[in-house]
Symmetry: C2
Protein backbone atom coordinates (compact mmCIF):
# COMPACT_ATOMS: atom_id res chain seq x y z
CA UNK A 1 0.00 0.00 0.00
CA UNK A 2 1.07 3.61 -0.52
CA UNK A 3 3.25 5.12 2.19
CA UNK A 4 2.99 8.72 1.11
CA UNK A 5 0.57 10.80 -0.93
CA UNK A 6 2.72 12.49 -3.54
CA UNK A 7 0.08 14.41 -5.49
CA UNK A 8 -2.51 15.86 -3.14
CA UNK A 9 -5.60 17.88 -3.96
CA UNK A 10 -4.79 20.21 -1.05
CA UNK A 11 -1.71 21.40 -2.95
CA UNK A 12 -4.04 22.81 -5.60
CA UNK A 13 -6.74 24.49 -3.54
CA UNK A 14 -6.73 28.24 -4.17
CA UNK A 15 -4.81 30.18 -1.51
CA UNK A 16 -7.99 31.74 -0.14
CA UNK A 17 -9.34 28.28 0.72
CA UNK A 18 -6.09 26.72 1.92
CA UNK A 19 -6.32 27.80 5.55
CA UNK A 20 -8.12 24.81 7.06
CA UNK A 21 -6.61 23.56 10.33
CA UNK A 22 -7.01 20.01 9.11
CA UNK A 23 -5.75 20.15 5.56
CA UNK A 24 -4.81 23.69 4.59
CA UNK A 25 -1.24 23.98 3.36
CA UNK A 26 -1.23 27.62 4.57
CA UNK A 27 -2.30 26.88 8.15
CA UNK A 28 1.02 26.87 9.99
CA UNK A 29 -0.28 25.05 13.05
CA UNK A 30 -2.56 22.52 11.36
CA UNK A 31 -2.38 18.83 10.53
CA UNK A 32 -1.66 19.22 6.79
CA UNK A 33 -3.67 16.17 5.78
CA UNK A 34 -3.00 15.33 2.11
CA UNK A 35 -5.43 13.40 -0.08
CA UNK A 36 -4.73 11.79 -3.43
CA UNK A 37 -5.90 9.03 -5.73
CA UNK A 38 -5.24 5.34 -5.09
CA UNK A 39 -6.59 3.75 -8.24
CA UNK A 40 -10.26 4.68 -8.24
CA UNK A 41 -10.23 5.16 -4.46
CA UNK A 42 -8.83 8.08 -2.48
CA UNK A 43 -6.23 7.99 0.26
CA UNK A 44 -4.99 10.18 3.10
CA UNK A 45 -2.08 9.03 5.26
CA UNK A 46 -1.36 10.55 8.65
CA UNK A 47 0.61 9.52 11.73
CA UNK A 48 -0.83 11.24 14.82
CA UNK A 49 1.65 13.10 16.99
CA UNK A 50 2.23 11.55 20.45
CA UNK A 51 0.12 14.17 22.22
CA UNK A 52 -2.95 13.04 20.29
CA UNK A 53 -3.77 10.32 22.72
CA UNK A 54 -7.31 9.70 23.79
CA UNK A 55 -9.16 8.47 26.83
CA UNK A 56 -7.28 5.19 26.68
CA UNK A 57 -3.58 5.96 27.20
CA UNK A 58 -1.48 4.68 24.28
CA UNK A 59 -4.29 4.95 21.77
CA UNK A 60 -5.30 7.79 19.50
CA UNK A 61 -7.83 10.45 20.33
CA UNK A 62 -11.15 9.94 18.57
CA UNK A 63 -11.28 13.60 17.62
CA UNK A 64 -8.10 13.37 15.56
CA UNK A 65 -9.46 10.38 13.63
CA UNK A 66 -12.75 12.23 13.06
CA UNK A 67 -10.75 15.21 11.82
CA UNK A 68 -8.77 12.98 9.47
CA UNK A 69 -11.98 11.52 8.04
CA UNK A 70 -13.53 14.98 7.69
CA UNK A 71 -10.73 16.48 5.57
CA UNK A 72 -10.11 13.22 3.73
CA UNK A 73 -13.76 13.26 2.68
CA UNK A 74 -13.65 16.89 1.54
CA UNK A 75 -10.52 16.17 -0.48
CA UNK A 76 -12.00 12.97 -1.91
CA UNK A 77 -15.12 14.78 -3.11
CA UNK A 78 -12.96 17.45 -4.70
CA UNK A 79 -10.80 14.90 -6.53
CA UNK A 80 -13.89 13.04 -7.70
CA UNK A 81 -15.69 16.08 -9.08
CA UNK A 82 -12.53 17.37 -10.73
CA UNK A 83 -12.16 14.07 -12.61
CA UNK A 84 -15.89 13.83 -13.31
CA UNK A 85 -15.62 17.17 -15.07
CA UNK A 86 -12.82 15.87 -17.26
CA UNK A 87 -9.95 17.50 -15.42
CA UNK A 88 -7.04 16.27 -13.33
CA UNK A 89 -4.79 17.71 -10.66
CA UNK A 90 -2.17 20.00 -12.12
CA UNK A 91 -3.90 20.82 -15.40
CA UNK A 92 -4.64 24.34 -14.17
CA UNK A 93 -8.23 23.68 -13.13
CA UNK A 94 -9.11 24.78 -9.61
CA UNK A 95 -10.36 21.82 -7.53
CA UNK A 96 -13.86 22.50 -6.15
CA UNK A 97 -14.18 23.08 -2.40
CA UNK A 98 -16.68 21.30 -0.19
CA UNK A 99 -18.20 21.79 3.23
CA UNK A 100 -19.22 18.96 5.55
CA UNK A 101 -22.92 18.21 5.74
CA UNK A 102 -22.85 15.24 8.08
CA UNK A 103 -19.94 13.31 9.52
CA UNK A 104 -20.53 9.85 10.92
CA UNK A 105 -17.65 7.97 12.47
CA UNK A 106 -17.72 4.46 13.87
CA UNK A 107 -14.91 3.46 16.22
CA UNK A 108 -14.56 -0.29 15.75
CA UNK A 109 -11.27 -0.86 17.54
CA UNK A 110 -8.91 1.34 19.54
CA UNK A 111 -6.59 3.19 17.14
CA UNK A 112 -2.91 2.71 17.98
CA UNK A 113 -0.58 5.68 18.23
CA UNK A 114 2.78 5.74 16.47
CA UNK A 115 1.76 4.06 13.23
CA UNK A 116 0.56 5.67 9.98
CA UNK A 117 -3.21 5.76 9.67
CA UNK A 118 -4.45 5.25 6.13
CA UNK A 119 -7.89 6.56 5.30
CA UNK A 120 -9.13 4.99 2.07
CA UNK A 121 -12.32 6.33 0.56
CA UNK A 122 -14.94 5.64 -2.06
CA UNK A 123 -16.95 8.54 -3.45
CA UNK A 124 -20.57 8.23 -4.58
CA UNK A 125 -22.57 11.01 -6.19
CA UNK A 126 -25.97 11.39 -4.53
CA UNK A 127 -26.82 14.78 -6.08
CA UNK A 128 -24.82 17.06 -8.41
CA UNK A 129 -23.85 19.12 -5.36
CA UNK A 130 -23.75 16.35 -2.72
CA UNK A 131 -21.37 13.43 -2.45
CA UNK A 132 -21.13 10.55 -0.03
CA UNK A 133 -17.69 9.33 0.99
CA UNK A 134 -17.32 5.94 2.65
CA UNK A 135 -13.97 5.58 4.34
CA UNK A 136 -12.05 2.84 6.08
CA UNK A 137 -9.17 3.88 8.33
CA UNK A 138 -6.43 1.27 8.47
CA UNK A 139 -3.77 0.92 11.17
CA UNK A 140 -1.27 -1.78 10.32
CA UNK A 141 -3.68 -3.26 7.75
CA UNK A 142 -6.56 -3.54 10.21
CA UNK A 143 -9.68 -1.41 9.83
CA UNK A 144 -10.02 0.44 13.12
CA UNK A 145 -12.48 3.20 12.24
CA UNK A 146 -14.98 3.80 9.44
CA UNK A 147 -16.53 7.01 8.19
CA UNK A 148 -19.65 7.91 6.27
CA UNK A 149 -19.66 11.54 5.27
CA UNK A 150 -21.90 13.74 3.16
CA UNK A 151 -19.99 16.56 1.51
CA UNK A 152 -21.77 19.54 -0.01
CA UNK A 153 -20.27 21.75 -2.70
CA UNK A 154 -19.34 25.05 -1.08
CA UNK A 155 -22.21 27.49 -1.60
CA UNK A 156 -21.42 30.41 -3.87
CA UNK A 157 -22.18 32.89 -1.08
CA UNK A 158 -19.16 31.67 0.89
CA UNK A 159 -16.95 31.86 -2.15
CA UNK A 160 -18.12 35.41 -2.78
CA UNK A 161 -17.53 36.39 0.85
CA UNK A 162 -13.94 35.26 0.61
CA UNK A 163 -13.30 36.86 -2.78
CA UNK A 164 -14.45 40.21 -1.43
CA UNK A 165 -11.93 40.13 1.40
Amino acid sequence: MEERVTKAVQDYYPDSFATCYGCGRLNEKGHHFRTGWLGDKTITIYTPLPEYMGGIPGFAYGGIVASLIDCHSAGSASLYVLRKNGNELGDGTEPPRFVTGTLKVEYKHPTPLGVPLKAIGTVTEIHPKKYRIDTEVFAEDKVVVTGEVIMVMMPEKFRETVKQK
Copy 2:
Protein backbone atom coordinates in the same frame (compact mmCIF):
# COMPACT_ATOMS: atom_id res chain seq x y z
CA MET B 1 -26.76 30.81 30.03
CA GLU B 2 -23.62 29.64 31.81
CA GLU B 3 -20.37 31.25 30.73
CA ARG B 4 -18.01 28.86 32.43
CA VAL B 5 -18.16 25.30 33.71
CA THR B 6 -17.02 25.53 37.32
CA LYS B 7 -17.36 21.88 38.37
CA ALA B 8 -16.24 19.58 35.58
CA VAL B 9 -16.20 15.80 35.48
CA GLN B 10 -12.76 15.92 33.85
CA ASP B 11 -11.33 17.32 37.09
CA TYR B 12 -12.26 14.05 38.78
CA TYR B 13 -11.12 11.46 36.23
CA PRO B 14 -8.36 9.32 37.71
CA ASP B 15 -4.88 10.50 36.64
CA SER B 16 -4.32 7.42 34.50
CA PHE B 17 -7.32 8.38 32.33
CA ALA B 18 -6.76 12.13 32.28
CA THR B 19 -4.45 12.26 29.28
CA CYS B 20 -6.97 12.75 26.47
CA TYR B 21 -6.00 15.43 23.95
CA GLY B 22 -9.54 16.71 23.99
CA CYS B 23 -10.42 16.78 27.65
CA GLY B 24 -7.58 15.43 29.75
CA ARG B 25 -6.40 17.87 32.40
CA LEU B 26 -2.94 16.23 32.24
CA ASN B 27 -2.48 16.63 28.47
CA GLU B 28 -0.36 19.77 28.26
CA LYS B 29 -1.08 20.44 24.59
CA GLY B 30 -4.76 19.52 24.50
CA HIS B 31 -8.03 21.43 24.41
CA HIS B 32 -9.00 20.89 28.08
CA PHE B 33 -12.71 20.64 27.37
CA ARG B 34 -14.66 20.74 30.64
CA THR B 35 -18.13 19.27 31.08
CA GLY B 36 -20.56 19.88 33.90
CA TRP B 37 -24.24 19.83 34.76
CA LEU B 38 -26.70 22.49 33.57
CA GLY B 39 -29.87 21.47 35.38
CA ASP B 40 -30.60 18.02 34.05
CA LYS B 41 -28.60 18.69 30.89
CA THR B 42 -24.84 18.74 30.45
CA ILE B 43 -22.70 21.58 29.13
CA THR B 44 -19.23 22.10 27.70
CA ILE B 45 -18.07 25.60 26.75
CA TYR B 46 -15.13 26.20 24.45
CA THR B 47 -13.88 29.09 22.35
CA PRO B 48 -11.75 27.77 19.47
CA LEU B 49 -8.32 29.33 19.07
CA PRO B 50 -7.90 31.46 15.92
CA GLU B 51 -5.87 28.77 14.11
CA TYR B 52 -8.86 26.40 14.24
CA MET B 53 -10.37 27.80 11.11
CA GLY B 54 -11.87 25.53 8.53
CA GLY B 55 -12.33 25.42 4.78
CA ILE B 56 -14.29 28.65 4.92
CA PRO B 57 -11.95 31.35 6.20
CA GLY B 58 -13.35 33.03 9.33
CA PHE B 59 -15.33 30.00 10.40
CA ALA B 60 -14.41 27.11 12.66
CA TYR B 61 -12.93 23.84 11.51
CA GLY B 62 -15.42 20.99 11.52
CA GLY B 63 -12.90 18.72 13.18
CA ILE B 64 -12.67 20.91 16.27
CA VAL B 65 -16.45 20.93 16.66
CA ALA B 66 -16.54 17.14 16.22
CA SER B 67 -13.81 16.88 18.88
CA LEU B 68 -15.81 19.09 21.23
CA ILE B 69 -18.90 16.92 20.76
CA ASP B 70 -16.87 13.74 21.27
CA CYS B 71 -15.40 14.70 24.65
CA HIS B 72 -18.57 16.49 25.74
CA SER B 73 -20.47 13.25 25.13
CA ALA B 74 -17.96 11.13 27.05
CA GLY B 75 -18.12 13.56 29.96
CA SER B 76 -21.91 13.70 29.80
CA ALA B 77 -22.22 9.93 29.98
CA SER B 78 -19.83 9.89 32.93
CA LEU B 79 -21.81 12.55 34.82
CA TYR B 80 -25.06 10.74 34.08
CA VAL B 81 -23.91 7.33 35.29
CA LEU B 82 -22.27 8.81 38.36
CA ARG B 83 -25.59 10.41 39.37
CA LYS B 84 -27.59 7.35 38.35
CA ASN B 85 -25.52 5.37 40.82
CA GLY B 86 -26.36 7.79 43.59
CA ASN B 87 -23.09 9.70 43.57
CA GLU B 88 -22.03 13.21 42.69
CA LEU B 89 -18.82 14.92 41.64
CA GLY B 90 -16.52 15.49 44.57
CA ASP B 91 -17.93 12.85 46.90
CA GLY B 92 -14.87 10.68 46.37
CA THR B 93 -16.41 8.36 43.79
CA GLU B 94 -14.41 7.91 40.61
CA PRO B 95 -16.44 8.96 37.55
CA PRO B 96 -16.71 6.13 35.04
CA ARG B 97 -14.79 6.46 31.76
CA PHE B 98 -16.34 5.90 28.35
CA VAL B 99 -15.12 5.25 24.83
CA THR B 100 -16.85 6.48 21.71
CA GLY B 101 -18.89 3.93 19.79
CA THR B 102 -20.28 6.13 17.05
CA LEU B 103 -20.06 9.87 16.55
CA LYS B 104 -22.52 11.57 14.24
CA VAL B 105 -22.22 15.29 13.64
CA GLU B 106 -24.50 17.44 11.53
CA TYR B 107 -23.19 20.82 10.42
CA LYS B 108 -26.28 22.98 10.07
CA HIS B 109 -24.67 26.39 9.76
CA PRO B 110 -21.08 27.62 9.55
CA THR B 111 -19.65 27.94 13.06
CA PRO B 112 -18.20 31.39 13.76
CA LEU B 113 -14.74 31.77 15.25
CA GLY B 114 -14.05 34.03 18.21
CA VAL B 115 -17.19 33.30 20.21
CA PRO B 116 -17.75 30.68 22.92
CA LEU B 117 -19.34 27.49 21.64
CA LYS B 118 -21.74 25.91 24.08
CA ALA B 119 -22.42 22.21 23.68
CA ILE B 120 -25.56 21.26 25.60
CA GLY B 121 -26.40 17.59 25.89
CA THR B 122 -29.13 15.20 26.92
CA VAL B 123 -28.17 11.69 27.99
CA THR B 124 -30.37 8.64 27.39
CA GLU B 125 -29.60 5.15 28.62
CA ILE B 126 -29.97 2.59 25.85
CA HIS B 127 -28.21 -0.27 27.67
CA PRO B 128 -26.52 -0.44 31.09
CA LYS B 129 -23.20 0.00 29.31
CA LYS B 130 -24.29 2.19 26.38
CA TYR B 131 -25.58 5.75 26.46
CA ARG B 132 -26.80 8.06 23.74
CA ILE B 133 -25.96 11.74 23.99
CA ASP B 134 -27.86 14.26 21.87
CA THR B 135 -26.09 17.58 21.72
CA GLU B 136 -26.79 21.00 20.34
CA VAL B 137 -23.84 23.32 19.85
CA PHE B 138 -24.78 26.97 20.22
CA ALA B 139 -22.85 29.97 18.91
CA GLU B 140 -24.37 33.23 20.07
CA ASP B 141 -27.64 31.44 20.93
CA LYS B 142 -28.01 29.85 17.49
CA VAL B 143 -27.71 26.09 17.03
CA VAL B 144 -24.97 25.64 14.46
CA VAL B 145 -24.09 21.96 14.86
CA THR B 146 -25.80 18.94 16.40
CA GLY B 147 -24.34 15.67 17.62
CA GLU B 148 -25.69 12.19 18.21
CA VAL B 149 -23.16 10.01 19.96
CA ILE B 150 -23.16 6.50 21.39
CA MET B 151 -20.80 6.16 24.33
CA VAL B 152 -19.75 2.76 25.64
CA MET B 153 -18.49 2.15 29.13
CA MET B 154 -14.75 1.55 28.91
CA PRO B 155 -14.15 -2.20 28.75
CA GLU B 156 -12.40 -3.68 31.75
CA LYS B 157 -9.54 -4.92 29.56
CA PHE B 158 -8.48 -1.33 28.82
CA ARG B 159 -8.70 -0.39 32.45
CA GLU B 160 -6.57 -3.38 33.36
CA THR B 161 -4.01 -2.52 30.66
CA VAL B 162 -3.57 0.92 32.12
CA LYS B 163 -3.41 -0.26 35.73
CA GLN B 164 -0.59 -2.63 34.82
CA LYS B 165 1.57 0.17 33.39
